[in-house]
């Protein structure tokens, strides 16, 4: 048995000690201030950005001041510049309305869609928070937001051609 295993055995045997309400409120306030924090590492990797920059961007998401509204077919978007290895691709968060459909299109450039909340469907499967759709150059798909809940996504995108 290692020290670590003994530690776990002793910890298992110890009587829990209640935490106070102040500690619970403190933790909840911290979670509310950083609701998308679990996705920061993966976004930093996908968008070639420092983790601290991504954390700062994620804290802006729920502040309407930073959003550009009523951009069809999105509900709104918040732009940012991806890291140097991904330029000239465009980066941004987008809110997509429940039931929204982006018709079939071909990607001139790579596109990566990372889901932060809600669900997206590409007709073959659904993607929930923490999942992403990575479309290479020349690929074709359509995207639907299933009825019931708005989707919030991070997008790395370039030009597309809409198809009939």
């Amino acid at each position: 048995m290692t020290d670590e295993e003994l530690f776990l055995a002793l910890a298992d045997a110890a009587e829990p000690l209640p935490v106070g309400d102040a500690a619970k409120l403190r933790l909840r306030a911290a979670l509310d201030a950083d609701p998308y924090l679990p996705f920061s590492s993966e976004l930093a990797r996908h968008f070639d950005l420092p983790a601290e920059d991504v954390r700062a961007l994620l804290r802006k998401i729920d502040d309407p001041e930073f959003w550009i509204r009523d951009v069809s077919p999105m509900h709104g978007h918040l732009d940012f510049t991806p890291g140097p290895s991904l330029r000239p691709l465009h980066g941004g968060f987008a809110r997509m309305l429940s039931g929204m459909r982006i018709q079939k299109h071909r990607h001139v450039h790579r596109e990566l869609t990372y889901v932060l909340s809600g669900t997206l469907s590409d007709g073959e499967r659904e993607y929930g928070p923490g999942e992403f759709i990575d479309m290479p150059e020349g690929s074709v798909h359509e995207v639907v937001v299933p009825e019931g809940k708005e989707a919030l996504v991070a997008l790395l995108s370039g030009r597309i051609h809409l198809l009939p």
């Binding site: 048995m1 530690f7 776990l8 045997a13 829990p16 935490v19 500690a23 979670l31 924090l37 679990p38």
Partner: protein
Amino acid sequence: MAPLEDPPDVASASDAELAERARRGDRAAFGELYDRLAPALFRVATSFFRDEARASDLVHDVFLEAWEHVREYDAARAPFRTWLLLRLRSRALDRLGRAEARLTEPLDEPAMERRHTGAPDADSRLAVRCALRSLEADVRAVLERRYVGGLTAREIAESDGIPIGTVKSRLSRGLASLSVTLRDEEERG
């Protein structure tokens, strides 16, 4: 794939289900995990820091760090509680300036031969837990200070104002008792 239906109430979900929901950014699920597991972590934190404010800060920081890294959690490797406890141990030893103690060296006390190359199975854990609960309070306290709090025998002696020989004697008795328990468990298994 994300579920289409509304998720079940957090109160009726298992820790594993809550952890999976937390991996998808569900704050309510993570909050429920805090409500369930923070008291166990707080208890362990007070073994590292007798000052309750420092212990409370440690638990808060460990949960916040776990929220940031929850997508790295792998349920196939350990229960969520174990994942949190090991994070807490690591952070506590860092704060105490004992990073070297994080290395999981086998015990060097002669009464405790290394019997497991991997994590002990559930039966062994249960047996160890029972053995720990059957120990005299002062023996168990010294084991906790040594293996949960990360103190050396000399530091325990100085901190608790007892002779170092007494500390070593209690450690030896506690480890011998655990050793017997594990041997019996091994023979039964």
